[in-house]
Symmetry: C2
Subunit: 619 residues, 2 copies
Amino acid sequence: MNSPEDVKKLDKDGLLQLCDEIRSYLIECCSANPGHLGASLGTVELCVALHYVFNAPKDKIVFDVGHQAYAHKIITGRREAFRKNRMAGGISGFPKMSESPYDSFGVGHASTSISAALGMAVAAQYRGIEEQVVAVIGDGAMTGGLAYEGLLNAGSLRTNILIVLNDNQMSIDKSTTSMHSYLVKLTTGKRYNRIKENVWTKLGHTVFRRWIQTRVKNLKRVLFNTNETATLFDSLGIRYFGPINGNDIEQLVFALRRLKDITGPKILHIVTVKGKGYKPAEDSQTVWHAPGYFDPTTGELHPHDHRGRCRYQDVFGETLLDLARANANIVGITPAMLAGCGMSIMQQQMPERVFDVGIEELHAVTFSCGLASQGLLPYCNIYSSFMQRGFDGVIHDAAVQNLKVVFCLDRGGLVGEDGATHQGAFDMAMFRPIPNLVIASPLNEHELRDMLFSAAMPEWKTPIIRYPRGYGEGVEWKGTEFNAIPAGKARKLSEGRGVALLSIGPIGNKGAEAVSRLRTEGFEVMHYDMRFLKPIDEEAIADAVGNASIIVTLEDGALLGGLHSSVSEYVAERSIDCEVIGLGIPDKFIEQATQEEQYSACGFNTEDIYKVLASALKK
Amino acid sequence: MNSPEDVKKLDKDGLLQLCDEIRSYLIECCSANPGHLGASLGTVELCVALHYVFNAPKDKIVFDVGHQAYAHKIITGRREAFRKNRMAGGISGFPKMSESPYDSFGVGHASTSISAALGMAVAAQYRGIEEQVVAVIGDGAMTGGLAYEGLLNAGSLRTNILIVLNDNQMSIDKSTTSMHSYLVKLTTGKRYNRIKENVWTKLGHTVFRRWIQTRVKNLKRVLFNTNETATLFDSLGIRYFGPINGNDIEQLVFALRRLKDITGPKILHIVTVKGKGYKPAEDSQTVWHAPGYFDPTTGELHPHDHRGRCRYQDVFGETLLDLARANANIVGITPAMLAGCGMSIMQQQMPERVFDVGIEELHAVTFSCGLASQGLLPYCNIYSSFMQRGFDGVIHDAAVQNLKVVFCLDRGGLVGEDGATHQGAFDMAMFRPIPNLVIASPLNEHELRDMLFSAAMPEWKTPIIRYPRGYGEGVEWKGTEFNAIPAGKARKLSEGRGVALLSIGPIGNKGAEAVSRLRTEGFEVMHYDMRFLKPIDEEAIADAVGNASIIVTLEDGALLGGLHSSVSEYVAERSIDCEVIGLGIPDKFIEQATQEEQYSACGFNTEDIYKVLASALKK
């Protein structure tokens, strides 16, 4: 199986067998090299059917989010490469234009597929090219505002486009919006279930022998008499078909073939099971969204040994609960990352005070501002790279109005295997120009805890607290007493002369290691944990430039616009004779690898920092 | 009429008279002091009815966009202040929390009202406070993805909230999305029109004598038997009522009163006429969205004399048409700013190549990327401050994939009377950290034309071209030959020693004036028009620091993160003994005033620049 051409040669039994083989291969590969298994197990039949019916790469298949595209990758010439899925030098875990002509549009964030596919279809129409464009979008991604914007434009332009709505009633956690309830209504309607029972389930795979022709009549009913309640999409000018069983290759092939000939924008609603065909994954879908290492036979999870360290998300989750217990005004808001950000801990204890709003980052921000305007203290947690979607809300709804929402940015900095689309590289640089914000990043778990506590203080106007993906430093933090951190106050970690290190965030621990190593060699480097990018602690910088002629700034974020810029401005404005060396994420997109590999690629792993400091000391 | 309490005392005739008086006052004030007249004329009855039925500020009225809130401002104690609407020291043209307790949530951008109102309603419920929350949103704003996100969350939470959908079938230009078609269907349905004819129009105002009680039966039918096609909102869990005539105060009062008692999320669809009650404005709604000065009696427009200068938007519009005529791959995309950005010029000549996608900035970006992925060359024009909504798309869909969309940011820099929410202050700073972008800003009309032409060259990877609101410098540009500008190449405007001025964008003309004045006094200042923020011309900076010990940077954008940061980094990285003084927008939100007043407030009007340079020369 090296190309979609091979898929097209198969008969019905062959297709079934192919699905089984792909599924086994996915489980095997992902058990040894972690990835987003659940979503991709659910869409094996869909990927096979799409390549069976359509002629990619001429026809365009546009995946949304991209978690669900593993089978697509395997079919389109990347079977062996898939063993290095998400690894440095390997293939991306998401569709990526530069990786394969079959990846018609790159992705990673949610809800882009309809807009992108519509652009492609309009371009094809404009250039007189005959081609099919298919967007594959999950029910979770369908809740994003961008998907709606795409639907409205598609419904207006009337260009040929097929949207496959892959409905597994999950985003990562259970879906929470009224779109979810609406889809449940569609799929639990009497009509759908009657047909499902009578036509599909009973006939099952045995009818492959008589294949599609004999069933046209029944299928026609399913496809072309739309469900009576299904007028939402029709209202917006998108013809609705379905729902059908998206784990049944025969149904899929038949439906996709018929829909090829129907002009205009249309939506095919398919119902799939996340984790399909692998019992542990079907039974526990949130865990198996991205399960890490596991035993493929038993389904036993093999968590890596993190030497007793907790993840930053755990610290956030536990601390938020502690704070909420002490302050009735505190509420929690997350756009569909309840478990991922740790807010599930509070949600289990006080569900009425936690709002999972679905994959709706901008709404999460503006909704939080509405809550804040009435005196509540919302903690709104959004992954750093997804916060790019909420950017305008932080400016227009929070900062302009001086409303106090504590924005907590998990996954700030380099994130590892998810690669370029998910790097939390730009948060500090993009927020620094915005008035009224306080931008902080903790050195470790304990400091994160104190910052979450301190954010309630009035001087922390509209706080942005960013911290990285993954495991902490292993310092004591559970149940520790809260210490107030004044906004804009740095902390000196070590004294020294000649060279000073100014760091922000947990990457400062690598800096401290490097400094400590130099100390054993007889060199003293001044080191400040700046803690705040904004307001910046000018006294700390003054102390540094007063004692050193070389300043090294260290940040796990874009060099352009962040701490390095801030310190450079200080020095340049005052015409201070001092060299400022910046360590941080350079001006390029950082592809998939482990976090440590990425730190090295960007030149700020402990060894790199040590070398830069050592060389500075020698000047 | 000094507070909503006074409104509540009125009888029906009094309400009618009040509406007439407000309308006359709006026309009078706006004729002498320009503002957003059309939208506010259409919502006079709505504002009066809301204050008649609800008890603000206890009950919360949340306006979307805010253009339509003038009557609300007049009713809530700002009648006299309204004469200084949008002026320095006067009141904002938009609702603003710090201005009045009746402005429950500030606004300026579209589609925020449902999310904010939902936050308020949830907070009230959580705190056990009995209050009503009403969001007022136009059909244009309803096309924004954020509105949909708000609807989905409202439909899921089931909190009490009333959404008034103010449907005038316009955003600024005619609405273009399928939401528009859907609403047309609702309002042209036989049932609505039959009722409208039989019940409303014929009865007209005469029935005020018998008032509401006698009409309960008919009204009930209108309100509580929803239109059969109106299931879109119901599908999402929002009960739909209407449509009713939103310029009929009696209908409005009755409907709002009844809806107060209905729990859960609900939407009242009202149909209004933009410009209502003022014939010139009703007849030409796009022009009268913000008509400038006019004669209130005749409706004759009085454009200010701009000494024959054109606006930057005209230069963009004409040039895009020129370029599109020569290159069949060029297409234009605008999110509902067809006239505002000048793309209407191309649209009139080649409508099939221009896409007005509605108020959907993020979709505009991603849709453009879809077009670009198939070899077209989209010019996507988005106002600078609205581009904050499209930020993630530029990163995730354009820059990561190196797709070539020419992003044209009109209204970059200080915009004048629209104030804090509309300042194009952050564009340069927010985009500078993003890899693969080329960020340019022209000195004048001619250079804008050349940049729009040059952007097609491969070295201009993903171009961002930003230019200000308003009139240009008066230089020759129409039909001039195109000159290729190499990406990242600055241009020296004058030679000098000791002090150098590095500017970007048209604000550089003020810099050139200051330099020229100093020349008459015998001082020579080196002046570079940097033209590009990214890639920055390091040779130009090297030349400047080689000849000057003080560099003054000048930009009509946030000081933090833009040109000043970039030059500071250059100097600090190289430990160059040179002072860098930054002129630009300081770290605060700039309120309404004229552009010139705002330049002065930020310290970079010609006189300010002159003083800074003169003082630098004396050092």
